[in-house]
Amino acid sequence: MKDLTTVRPVPRAINWNRLQDDKDLEIWNRLTVNFWLPEKVPLSNDIPSWSQLTEEEQRLTIRVFTGLTLLDTIQNTVGAPALMPDAITPHEEAVLTNIAFMEAVHARSYSSIFSTLCSTAEVDEAFRWSEENPHLQQKSRLILDEYDSASHPLKKKIASVFLEGFLFYSGFYLPMHWSSRARLTNTADLIRLIIRDEAVHGYYIGYKYQRGLEVLTEAERNELKDFAFSLIFELYDIEGRYTEQLYDGLGLTEDVKAFLHYNANKALQNLGYESLFPDELCKVNPAIMAALSPNADENHDFFSGSGSSYVIGKAVATEDEDWDF
């Protein structure tokens, strides 16, 4: 007798002109327009700046980047593919293939930075370090367990949103820090492209999570919420220790932690939840915020008050035909 469970049904051809969820097309368009490759960024211009860092600062930077490479590798090879069987629409699956590929581009980018700035021996040492670092291994393990256990499809989405929206930020802090001091500014430009992509990924997967919650009972929703908050607590605990180990030497630990709190809250918001950390613990160094979104605060808003006048925003192309008033 033929075992029906082993026979893969022929999928239906994807029809992008029949959407069940218009967010799929919105995000597909966003991701494809935002596509980039590390070769576009003139990393070699950072060579003089790299040589001005101390040996300790260089080692820290390479280690931070190998840590980020590991997370991107997980997301590329395990995370995004693990979400595909749970996709509700065929278009969601297609979007996830794009997310998976961009994670490979991110992971590949760190090696471009290494080959431009560092010696092979230094890089090999850092990859060894990442394989042996207990905190890095522990947080990877926690996330992988959720991807593999398949205990609930929505728990995988929680893990994915926390990896992309929270775990990266202890690493992203450093290039933003260097950029705020006019160091490694081209590397920072590349990292900003990664940060932008991660925001779209977290937004989309968080949105699909919220859609998934809609069909559950109140009790199931409560259970998932409890799970999400206990996972972020557990991850935060590891991140705290990882941060201390990396940044104590430069005296930056407290500054990094404020950035972690701020990003944990944003990851929770993407899942539709309230913030965990109160605002006073999320006061990120303004230099880091400015490095994250240059010019964003140039035009002071009215309520924050920089006087009685206001500056009308800089022109941004809209290209919408009906935007004609």
């Binding site: 935002n34 009215f302 925003g313 008033f325």
Partner: protein, 138 residues
């Protein structure tokens, strides 16, 4: 106090912000064929940002449809824009586009569903803003 109109997609970030704000507000519907609010008194718009990497498409089509009515647009007094700082210089750029097109100020910018600090600033700011608007209008 003047009116408040907002757009929020199914992610619900802006909706949650407006609910916590605790002020009366009309929502611009997500469905392209649904009837739009048509305020005939001064109001402030709260809008998320949907810009791609080049800044295109920052303002949602439904918000554009809403503002394309001249009788609505002439009552717009200011815009509050949301977004994500991860988008760098394009953070909350929908506010800048609406401000430029409609010659109104960007009143405030916040991220995703906003923080308690954002809520307090917007409540206080709107209060002050409408008081000033009323006293200059007379």
């Amino acid at each position: 106090m003047g009116g408040l109109v907002y757009y929020s997609s199914r992610t619900g970030n802006t909706r949650r912000f407006v609910e916590r704000l605790g002020l009366a507000a009309s929502r611009i519907p997500m469905e392209p064929d649904a009837p739009l609010p048509a305020p005939r008194a001064p109001f402030v718009l709260i809008t998320p940002t949907y810009a791609d990497g080049q800044g295109r498409g920052a303002v949602h089509k439904q918000v554009i449809r809403f503002l394309n009515d001249p009788d609505t647009r002439c009552h717009l007094r200011g815009v509050i824009a949301s977004g994500n700082r991860n988008f760098g210089r394009l953070f909350a750029s929908a506010g800048d586009v609406v401000a430029r097109k409609c010659a109104v100020p960007v009143l405030y910018r916040f991220e995703l569903a906003g923080t308690e600090t954002d809520l307090a600033r917007v409540r206080e700011g709107l209060d002050r803003f409408w008081t000033t608007q009323c006293s200059t209008a007379t």
